[in-house]
Symmetry: C2
Subunit: 167 residues, 2 copies
C-alpha cells in the first residue's frame, strides 16, 4: 500500500516554507507536473497518451495541417511531432497524406475514430482544470495568466537573442 497523504504533505510543506525568489521556476514546473499527471491518468482510461492528446486537440479545431504547422501550434520540435503522428497513424487516429500540389508537405487528417475521441477526452481536461483552480478568484487567475504569458515572452526573446548574437 502507498501512503499518498504523507507524501502530499511533504511536498506541500516544502512549498509553504520561505521560498527564495529564484524558485518560482520550480513552482511552475511542479504545477506542470501536477496538471500533466492528473490529465494523463484520466486519458489513460481511454487508452490515449498525453503526447497524443496535444495533437488531437489541435486537429479537432482544424485538420489538414502539415506536420510543420502542427509543430508550431503544439510548441514542439519537428521530430517530436513526426514520431507522435506516425504512432497516431498506426493507432488509427489520423492519416498522413501528400497532396497533389506538393510532394514535400505531409498533411494530417483525423479519422472518424480520432474525431470521436473528442467527446470523451475534452471533459477530462475540463475536469482537471476545474479541480486545479477551484475556489480561486477569476482576477487572480487572470493575473497568473498574464504573468505566465509575460514570462514566456521574455524567455522566447532571450532565446532568439542568443540564437542570433551567441552564434
Amino acid at each position: 500500500m502507498k501512503k499518498p497523504e504523507r507524501v502530499t504533505e511533504t511536498i506541500l510543506n516544502h512549498w509553504r516554507e520561505a521560498v527564495p525568489n529564484d524558485r518560482l521556476a520550480h513552482l511552475v514546473k511542479d504545477a506542470t507536473r501536477g496538471l500533466t499527471r492528473a490529465l494523463q491518468s484520466r486519458l489513460a482510461t481511454e487508452g490515449v497518451s498525453f503526447g497524443h492528446w496535444v495533437f488531437l486537440r489541435i486537429l479537432w479545431e482544424k485538420d489538414g495541417l502539415t506536420q510543420r504547422e502542427l509543430s508550431l501550434e503544439a510548441g514542439l520540435m519537428e521530430p517530436t511531432t513526426f514520431s507522435a503522428l506516425v504512432a497516431m497513424e498506426k493507432l488509427g487516429y489520423v492519416t498522413r497524406r501528400k497532396l497533389p500540389h506538393s510532394r514535400k508537405n505531409v498533411y494530417v487528417f483525423l479519422t472518424e475514430q480520432g474525431r470521436a475521441l473528442k467527446a470523451k477526452l475534452v471533459p477530462m481536461a475540463e475536469e482537471v482544470n476545474r479541480i486545479a483552480i477551484a475556489g480561486l478568484p477569476a482576477s487572480e487567475i487572470a493575473t497568473t495568466r498574464r504573468v505566465l504569458l509575460t514570462m514566456i515572452e521574455h524567455l522566447a526573446r532571450d532565446e532568439a537573442a542568443q540564437d542570433q548574437g551567441g552564434n
Copy 2:
C-alpha cells in the same frame, strides 16, 4: 540559418488570441519549457545537465541525505533519482556511501568538485529568473506564486484521493 524571430512571433500570437479557460494548463507548461530551456542552455556551458542541477541545488543546502529523501525534496520518483545520482557519481560530483548504522540507506555527499559548481551555476539560475520576471510587479508575482501553489495542492489532493478510492 534559423529565423527565431518568426517562430517567436508565432508562439506569442498563439497566446495572445482568445484563450479558452482550459488552456491555463497549456500556458503553465509553456512557461516551464521556456524556463527549462533557458537554464539548460546556460548550464550546458559548464557541462552540467538540467537533471543534475536539480539535485546539486538540494545538496548545496544540505548533503548527506538518502536517495529517498532526495527524491522527496526534488519531487521525483526514486528510479529517476537513482539514475541521476549514479551518473553524478560517475562524473565526480557526489559520492554514494552506506553508513555503518544502516545497510539499507544510501547517503549522498558532495565532492569538492560538486560543491565548487555552486559559484558558477547559481548565478545562471538567478539570471534566468531575472529575465523571466523583468518588469512585473512584485504583487503580481506573489499572486502567481499563490495561485500555482493552490493548484499544486488541489492536484496533489486529487491524486491522493484517486490512489485511495480508485482502488
